[in-house]
C-alpha cells in the first residue's frame, strides 16, 4: 500500500461552518476525487451542488447524469479510466444503483457512494431523516459480495470518513459507502480541514509488470489484485460475468466457487484492519448501547440519564458498520446482560447484533420508523427495562 499526501489543490484548509452534505464533497476533493457523476435527490443534492461549484477550479469533471443508473455506471467507467470517483444519493436513487453496485463489486472497482438516508420505503419522507438503508447497502445487489460502509455522526466526520472511504476503496478495490442521513447531512457544524500534508491518502495499487502478463483479477499476497487503467496499453478485459483471473468469462460452478469467495473473503478476512469502533465504559458494563450515525448522538443523553440512575451502561458507536464487528460483539455478549440497539428503522443492525451475540445476551431493538430522531427517553426506557 503506497501512501501519499493529498494534493493541496483540492484541500480547503481551515475552519469552516459546513453542513454534512458539503463536508462530504470537501472530503472527496481532499481525497483526490476528480470525477463526480450524480442525479439530484433530496436530501443529498447539496453534495452534488458543492462539487459542481468547486470542481472546475480544481481540475476535474462534474456531470449531472440522466438518472442514478447512469451515475453509478459513469463512475465505473471513470474509475477504470484512472480517476478517483464519487456519487451521492438517497433511498430511491440508491435502489436504482443496486445493479451496478454489483458490477462494481464484480469488477473490483474502487469507488465511493454516499447515501444521505431519508425515510422509506418508496418515496417515503424525502426531507426527513432515516437509517433504513443499512441492510440494503450490504445486501441490496443480487448475489454474494461484501462492501465497506461507514457511518458519520457529524459534518466533521462526513469530511473525515469520506477520505477514509476513498482510502479503503483503493486498498481493497471495493465500493465503499458513507452512510449518513438527512440529520447529519443538513446539520451545520464546525468542520476543520487540515493542511494537505496532514491528509494521508492511499494510491491505487497500480500494476507495473510486463504488458502481456497483466491479470486483472489475480489476487496478490494481500488478496487484492493489481489495477491498470484503460489507455495504458494492456488491452485487458473485465466482465460482470463470473470470470477467471484473466477477466475472461467462465460459466461454471468451479469458477464461481473461486470468483465469489474472493469477493467476500478479501473484506471479511481483513475485517480487523477495516473496523473502527468508538467504545465508552464497555469494560464493566451491564448494558451496552450500540448505535451509529445521528442516533449515537441522541443515545448520549439517554446513557447519561441511565448512568445517573445507577445503571452500568457502556456504548459502542459503529464508525464502520460493514464489515460488522462480529468478534467484539461476541466477546462482550458473554459479559453483559443485554445490548440495546436504537436505530432509525424498524430493526436492521439489531439483528446483526443478535446474530453475533449468539444467544449469550439479548439484543433489544429500539425502533423508529424515521422522520425524526429518537426521543432519548425511549432509549432510556429500553436501557432501564433491560437492566432489570
Amino acid at each position: 500500500m503506497k501512501k501519499v499526501k493529498a494534493d493541496p489543490k483540492g484541500v480547503l484548509t481551515g475552519a469552516h461552518y459546513l453542513d454534512g452534505d458539503h463536508a462530504l464533497a470537501e472530503g472527496a476533493l481532499a481525497a483526490g476525487c476528480r470525477f463526480f457523476a450524480g442525479y439530484p435527490i433530496t436530501p443529498s443534492t447539496e453534495t452534488a451542488e458543492r462539487f459542481a461549484e468547486r470542481i472546475p477550479k480544481v481540475g476535474g469533471v462534474f456531470i449531472q447524469m440522466e438518472d442514478e443508473l447512469a451515475s453509478i455506471a459513469a463512475l465505473i467507467g471513470a474509475a477504470w479510466g484512472g480517476k478517483k470517483v464519487m456519487t451521492v444519493t438517497s433511498g430511491p436513487g440508491f435502489s436504482l444503483m443496486m445493479e451496478n453496485i454489483g458490477l462494481a463489486c464484480m469488477l473490483e472497482t474502487p469507488l465511493v457512494i454516499a447515501n444521505v438516508q431519508r425515510g422509506g420505503p418508496s418515496t417515503g419522507l424525502p426531507t426527513l431523516t432515516g437509517q433504513q438503508d443499512m441492510m440494503q447497502v450490504k445486501w441490496g445487489s443480487h448475489g454474494d459480495y461484501e462492501i465497506i460502509a461507514l457511518s458519520p455522526d457529524s459534518p466533521q466526520e462526513c469530511f473525515d470518513l469520506c477520505i477514509e472511504a476513498f482510502n479503503l476503496s483503493e486498498i481493497y478495490r471495493v465500493p465503499s459507502f458513507v452512510m449518513t442521513d438527512e440529520c447529519v447531512g443538513h446539520m451545520h457544524e464546525k468542520v476543520v480541514i487540515p493542511p494537505a500534508e496532514e491528509i494521508e491518502l492511499v494510491e491505487r495499487k497500480w500494476y507495473k509488470g510486463p504488458k502481456d502478463k497483466y491479470l486483472p483479477f489475480k489476487p496478490d499476497e494481500d488478496m487484492i489484485p493489481f489495477m491498470v487503467k484503460v489507455g495504458d496499453g494492456y488491452h485487458f478485459h473485465v466482465t460482470g460475468l463470473t470470470h477467471d483471473e484473466r477477466g475472461y468469462p467462465v460459466i461454471n460452478a468451479e469458477c464461481q466457487n473461486v470468483c465469489v469467495p474472493h469477493l467476500v473473503d478479501k473484506i471479511n478476512m481483513n475485517a480487523d484492519k477495516i473496523i473502527k469502533l468508538e467504545e465508552d465504559e464497555t469494560d464493566n458494563a451491564e448494558i451496552i448501547v450500540i448505535s451509529y450515525g445521528i442516533t449515537s448522538r441522541v443515545t448520549t443523553r439517554a446513557v447519561r440519564k441511565a448512568r445517573k440512575a445507577g445503571i452500568k451502561v457502556g456504548t459502542i458507536r459503529l464508525i464502520t458498520v460493514w464489515p460488522f464487528p462480529e468478534k467484539r460483539i461476541k466477546e462482550l455478549a458473554k459479559k453483559i446482560k443485554a445490548f440495546v440497539v436504537p436505530e432509525i428503522n424498524y430493526g436492521q443492525v439489531v439483528y446483526e447484533v443478535e446474530r453475533c451475540a449468539f444467544g449469550q445476551a439479548p439484543a433489544i431493538r429500539v425502533p423508529h420508523c424515521g422522520g425524526w430522531v429518537h426521543d432519548p427517553e425511549d432509549i432510556f426506557k429500553a436501557i432501564k427495562e433491560a437492566s432489570k
Binding site: G59, G77, G81, G233, F236
Partner: protein, 290 residues
Amino acid sequence: MKEEDRREGKNPIENLLRMDRIPHIWCPGCGIGVVVTSFAEALRKSEIDLDKTAIISGIGCTGRVAGYVKLDSIHTTHGRAVPVATGLKLANPELKVVVFSGDGDIAGIGGNHFIHAARRNMDLVIICVNNFNYAMTGGQVAATTPISANASTAPFGNFEYPFNLPYLAEASGATYVARWTALHLRRVTKSVQEALGRRGFSFIEVITPCVTLYARRNRLGDGLNLLKYYYEKSEIQHGADTKTLDISYQGKLIVGKFVDKDKPTFLDCMNEHLGKVLGDKYEPYGGNHD
C-alpha cells in the same frame, strides 16, 4: 499485414481479436461476427492508436463483442454501456471510446442513456447491431421488431410501433448517423473509420441476421436468405431525411450516411463555457478541446 503473418496464413484481423477466446458463442449464420470483422478492419485501416482505443459492451449477443476484441474492453450490465463509456471518456479525454452493443441494450433498456449521450454530443462511437429481437434470451419482441413480425413474447405478431433508430439518434443530437446491413461489409468499415476519425456522438446501426430466432420464428430461411433480402430490399440514400427511415416487416431498408456535421462536444462546451465564465479560476480539463 506483416509478411511472416501472411506466410503463416494468419487472418489480417487476428491481432485485433482475443484468439484464445475463439470459437465465439454466436450461432452459425449470425451476422454479429461479420460486423466485428468490419469493425476490426476499420481499426486496422484507420491506424488509430489501439492503446488509446476502448470498447464497451452491454448485455446480449452483441454484448459479447467486448470480450472478443483485443482492446481495453469492459463488458458491463444490460443497457449501461453508454454511461460507462461516458465516464471513461470523461476520465481520460484522449481515449477513443466505442460502444458496441445490440438494439435491446442500446435502444430498449438503455434508451434513456442513448438519447442523453447524443444530446450532450458526447464524443463516443456507438455501433448498434439491430437484429430485430432479444436474441440472447430466446427471441423476444424488441423496441425494433417490425410490426407483424413474430417473436416469442409476441406469438401472434408484433403490434407495437418500432423505433426508427437513425431518426431517434438525429433528433437527440447525434452528429454522425449511418445505417447499413451486415451485407454492406465495406460500407460498415468505412462508416466506422469515419466515426473513429471524427469527434462527437457517432451512431452506426447495422441490420443483422438472427437466424436461430428471428428468422426461424418468422420462417425467413437461413443467413443466406436474409442476406438476399438485404441485397434486394436495401437502397442506399445518403443524406435521406431520417424521418423516412422506418422499417416495415420484410420491407425496404433505406441505408446510407444520413448525418455528418460538426458541433462542439460535451468537453468542448464544458471547457469553453467554464473558461469564459470563470476565467483564470478555471482549471481547463483534458486535451480534447481546441
